[in-house]
Symmetry: C2
Subunit: 188 residues, 2 copies
Amino acid sequence: MSTNDLRVVKTKQALHNALLTLLSEKPLENITIAEICRVAKVNRGTFYLHYEQKEGLFEEYFQEIMEDLNNSYEEPYRAVTTLDKNQIDPNTIRIFHHIERFKLFYRIVFSKNVPLTYYYMLFDGIFALLKRDITIHNKVHDEISIEYYSAYQANAIIGLIIQWYRQDFEDSVSTLNKQLASILRIGE
Amino acid sequence: MSTNDLRVVKTKQALHNALLTLLSEKPLENITIAEICRVAKVNRGTFYLHYEQKEGLFEEYFQEIMEDLNNSYEEPYRAVTTLDKNQIDPNTIRIFHHIERFKLFYRIVFSKNVPLTYYYMLFDGIFALLKRDITIHNKVHDEISIEYYSAYQANAIIGLIIQWYRQDFEDSVSTLNKQLASILRIGE
DNA sequence: TATTTTAATGAACACATGTTCAATATCTAA
DNA sequence: TTAGATATTGAACATGTGTTCATTAAAATA
């Protein structure tokens, strides 16, 4: 099933468009595979040739969004996890911008009937960024596992995002940045 | 649909037992409602009278487990979020004990094809505990929202648990406690 | 362009979902 | 204990799921 084959490209594009169309009408959980295929005018068997669940289709979008997250972290940036808290500049924290930019997607990602997969994709994305940073600055005390520490910090940030999501992203990005900066400053 | 009615009690009990039986054989995602009903010898229509999805049935177990979490936090305890980090005693951190006690359940809760609902139940449980504690000690700086701060701390702990889960809970409870204590000591 | 390769199709299958409704069995309260 | 209330049942229905297989159509390549 070569990804370059025009037939494959065409089929996937049709399925992507169909999913997007349906997502503007109703939540992912209420969309069926049969429905997507009807809209895309693609045989249902063909769907299963490429994906196992509708979630797999959704994941392809997510990949692109995760790339945006990574790009938004390209240099120049200064990390939020630097142990020297004085270095923190709220404006350098780009994660919240990213979330806001794709809040239509993140409303789906954080909705309660959706599988944990997407959560883990976000977690892994942030985890990798923080871990890279922690490793670069490598100031963590010996007795702390970098893995645990990264998981701790990454998920803490997602905790803020959950709280933000639950108020339907009403607070501004800069409010979130300030909250994070203030929290990290505690204990100085 | 009175909860006291013996018929209701009996039906729910049968469904609970059936779910438990099936869970010992295969993951929740591979268990169907029809299957649960067959094992429980309960009409499928009756299932829908009480629950919408098999997840609703699972949630009832979760409630009990959340009670254990709350109980494990009864006094005497000293909180992990006290801003004066010197007060932290790893032995007072009971969350990891709780997770380990119910690791059979938490393996399900953290599996990637399960809905986010369970994650939120755990999050809300820890969130409430930490918020109560933060409010009692109420040492958070003015500019920090207690909601955001609690969400941050609660999810950070779950971050450790995710990392723990991903290594199939191989580390000991005391390792987790020490990691948390060390992380909290950073920045002192 | 002609030939080969292979993705997509349509039909069919067994089974699951979610819902309805009249008939029945079981419980509660008098 | 009986009468009334109601939870449960079984049957049926339209639709979705996941899979199979021979056929067809569209792409790659030579």
